[in-house]
Chain length 227, copies 2
């Protein structure tokens, strides 16, 4: 089963067609989940999530009542705890619901402490083992967490740029078939190689022996602004 998860990041960063996308996905069996304020945003779009997780401490009482009335599976997190709301949301999806893939919205923009939590949570236990099942999507970016070994990246016509970077110590990172290839890069320090491009419609191959590497498909805002 696939899932879409919506966190509380600013709506201005969401893809503009998110409402239709989520409605269609839900109609065809994709599970819709949200953490905290994300649940409220969904209800405002007329979408009832199947699962809501959070301490809901940022919501007003009437807002929480609305969620409690509509959403089937609600998990209450304790306000002061080890796991963050979003961690508990992802764990519920991967472990209780055994979903195969999660498309994540509302994880970027706004408060950068939240953004770093959302990205770095997939580098740490207990979520590290699920990282390659997650895609983080906003209006201008699509982030994938790659796995050591070989990764094939397909061109996506609406995202002309590709950044490849290591967020932990990396060994023997290689980028093949790209406008800017990279060979045998190893470093203890995180680094991002941005603004790479696909050559025609060829796949880009990324390989590395060890480490946490992400791929960021991106586009400028002036281009494709109606998407």
């Amino acid at each position: 089963m696939k899932a879409i998860a919506v966190l509380g990041g600013p709506i201005s960063n969401w893809p503009v067609d998110i409402k239709e996308k989520i409605k269609e996905a839900q109609a065809s069996g994709t599970m819709i989940a949200a953490s905290d304020r994300g649940s409220l945003f969904l209800l405002e779009l007329g979408i009832i999530p199947n699962l809501a997780v959070g301490d809901f401490d940022s919501l007003k009482k009437a807002e929480l009542s609305k969620i409690e009335e509509k959403v089937e599976d609600i998990r209450y997190a304790k306000p002061e705890k080890n796991e963050t709301d979003s961690e508990q949301l992802f764990l519920t999806l991967f472990e209780d619901y055994q979903v195969d893939q999660v498309d994540l919205y509302g994880a970027t923009g706004g408060r950068l402490d939240h953004f770093f939590v959302n990205v770095l949570t997939f580098l740490n236990a207990p979520l590290h083992k699920y990282k390659s099942q997650v895609r983080m999507i906003d209006q201008q970016n699509l982030i994938l967490f790659l796995k050591p070994g070989q990764n094939q990246l397909f061109p996506i016509s609406t995202y002309p740029y590709l950044g490849i970077g290591n967020l932990t110590s990396v060994k023997n990172l290689n980028i093949y078939n790209a406008k800017y290839p990279l060979a045998h890069f190893s470093s203890r320090i995180p680094r991002m190689f941005s603004s790479n491009e696909f050559i025609k419609q060829n796949k880009i191959k990324v390989t590395f022996d060890e480490g946490d590497v992400i791929a960021i498909y991106s586009r400028d805002k002036d281009r494709f602004s109606n998407i």
Copy 2:
């Protein structure tokens, strides 16, 4: 000498009072620098930067002419090179102009490959040694790069939240005098401890033995939306 540097990130992320802030700063002797599209944004605000650095490949010819006509010190970067435009901008500021502190705008939002380049450039040579002289500022965040040893963080009334996180392997990270203290945290994996808060008006003390730790002061957008 202090400097303000403006990169090409989306204007929607800039503090709304940036025009007045930069004009006042320039009038009182702060150097104004910009990379690529940042120069154009400044000219549109009626501000002539003292220094412009970039390959300017994202600008139209007429836009570049405008920059060449107005800006005193222009450094042309080669389009395919080892250093990024922003790296060359910072190196020019710290090494040629010997500035003591840089407030950086336009480094966040929009394309996340660019955002990661802008943050991670300060973890790598040749800019690593200057990292504690940089503040990265947008509408909701103020990022500082801390130094091993003791760091005193003062409360800033318009930013109620504080995130503390390691972006490289860290040894013995401690947070004192905060709502959520942290003791003897060591990890090879980057992690962000978000949403901490100051207790009354007390300084927060952050210490660590080794690694790259950042502090993110942040605020929600609903609050202080007129700032």
